[in-house]
């Protein structure tokens, strides 16, 4: 990209006026906004909003501007350029400090892949109780309650939040890597398990 080409910020074109409106919306929004949400607020056409977003993506690009437009957590949002990370680090805390424990990461992974999922289910997968870990992740805003298990007296279920996607830089949960089922040793494991089951059954 020819980074040094002078850039026309202002034209009389109506898409440019729309782009300014989208800019304005994004700079005050508290979370990523989808093209549809932007179109509804701007009272304009979603397709024209997409065009405007394309324009803004060029303008607010890494290396070109301190404000960067990114597609994240199912919508569009401004963030600081990576170039300014050091300066930002002096003034702000990282959205999630690195100190996520192994247990927290494991729980987060379970909620991301299997969610909505209840604490008993998480405990079943992890093999240990998950109460304090779950509470900690809720506190950090990375997971949130998502109703209770079906049927009366069901346990509260949790899912990951848009903040989770944003912190991990995901456009959506579908961007999580696909995890293969148990690999090549699946057959061997199965045999062993069957042997165990037979002994138990006996």
């Amino acid at each position: 990209m020819d980074r040094d080409r002078p850039f026309r910020l202002i034209t009389a074109g109506p898409v440019d006026a729309l782009a300014r409106t989208v800019e304005a919306l994004l700079v005050v929004a508290s979370q990523p906004l989808s093209a549809d949400e932007l179109a509804a607020a701007a009272d304009d056409d979603p397709e024209r909003v997409e065009t405007a977003l394309g324009l803004l993506q060029e303008r607010f690009a890494e290396g070109r501007s301190g404000i960067v437009l990114e597609h994240v957590a199912g919508g569009w949002a401004f963030r600081a350029s990576r170039e300014a990370a050091e300066a930002c680090g002096r003034l702000f805390e990282r959205p999630v400090e690195r100190g996520l424990s192994a247990a927290a990461l494991e729980t987060l992974a379970i909620v991301a892949y299997l969610g909505p999922v209840s604490r008993p289910e998480i405990a079943r997968v992890r093999g240990v109780a998950a109460d304090s870990v779950v509470a900690g992740l809720v506190e950090r805003g990375l997971i949130a309650e998502a109703g209770r298990e079906p049927g009366v007296g069901g346990a509260v279920r949790y899912r990951t939040t848009p903040l989770f996607e944003r912190v991990f830089g995901l456009e959506s949960l579908s961007q999580l890597p696909r995890l293969d089922d148990v690999g090549e040793d699946a057959g061997e494991i199965r045999e062993r398990l069957e042997a165990v089951a037979e002994r138990r059954g006996a």
Partner: protein, 250 residues
């Protein structure tokens, strides 16, 4: 550590003997006050005036295993639930859960790497400094919905399945059988290789089974250095009825 003298309601004697009796199912673990054992150990530790890390570590492993066994004993339903399953079904269920667990483990490895890479992406959390204030208005609500919410909370929960405990934490006897059959085939094996991928508590139970094998004179344990692999060596002589010692049914 193993000579720790205990004076409990249900048992009096060295800790070592208590373990043996429990493993032989000659002592009802449900009646043993595990907290009392911990207190005795702590008192002994305080008397010595110095911290013996090795003894503490061993004690933790053994007490964890005891608690595990006791927990299983306190939920007798679980065994019934398991035996309801056909062996193939049980194996299928185990395989499914193991796969689930592995996927979660793998994903948990991916997340921190991703976080590290995204560490230089800063964005605003919360409202913009000069943003308009959001007003959230709520339509009129029915008071009955409040009563319904509390009533739902008062409903007894369905019986929780404890099957996972049995599946994830096999009994000591199972490890005894397994290690014996390994020793039938091989003179020496490494504990680490055998318990790889198991949960800590499973490994603890496996270790307890090894201690039992050693007690019975069936195997010797060697470890070159702290945290080095534990090597298990068959001790029994040819011709001796090796495997009748402490079978589960004994």
């Amino acid at each position: 550590m193993r000579e720790l003298e205990l004076d409990l309601d249900a048992f009096e004697g060295p800790f070592d003997l208590l373990l043996t009796l429990v493993l032989k199912e000659e002592l009802e673990l449900a009646e043993v006050d595990v907290a009392e054992i911990v207190v005795t150990f702590c008192e002994r530790l305080a008397e010595r005036g110095q911290l013996d890390l090795e003894a503490c570590g061993e004690f933790l492993v053994l007490v964890a295993a005891l608690l595990e066994l006791k927990a299983r004993g306190l939920f007798p339903d679980e065994d019934a639930e398991l035996s309801d399953l056909e062996p193939e079904e049980a194996a299928e269920e185990l395989a499914r859960r193991l796969a689930e667990y592995r996927r979660a483990k793998e994903a948990a490895e991916w997340l921190p790497a991703r976080l590290e890479g995204e560490g230089d992406r800063f964005f605003r959390l919360g409202p913009a400094p000069l943003a308009p204030r959001v007003e959230r208005r709520l339509a009129p609500q029915e008071p009955e919905s409040l009563a319904a919410a509390l009533r739902a909370l008062a409903v007894e929960p369905p019986a929780v399945s404890l099957a996972h405990m049995g599946l994830r934490f096999p009994p000591v006897s199972q490890f005894l059988e397994r290690f014996r059959s390994v020793l039938q085939r091989r003179r020496v094996f490494d504990l680490d290789a055998e318990v790889e991928g198991m949960s800590r508590i499973e490994q603890a139970v496996a270790f307890l089974a090894l201690l039992e094998l050693r007690r019975a004179g069936e195997a010797s344990l060697e470890q070159a250095a702290p945290f080095a692999p534990i090597r298990v060596r068959r001790l029994a002589e040819e011709g001796r009825p090796e495997w009748t010692g402490i079978a589960r049914s004994a």
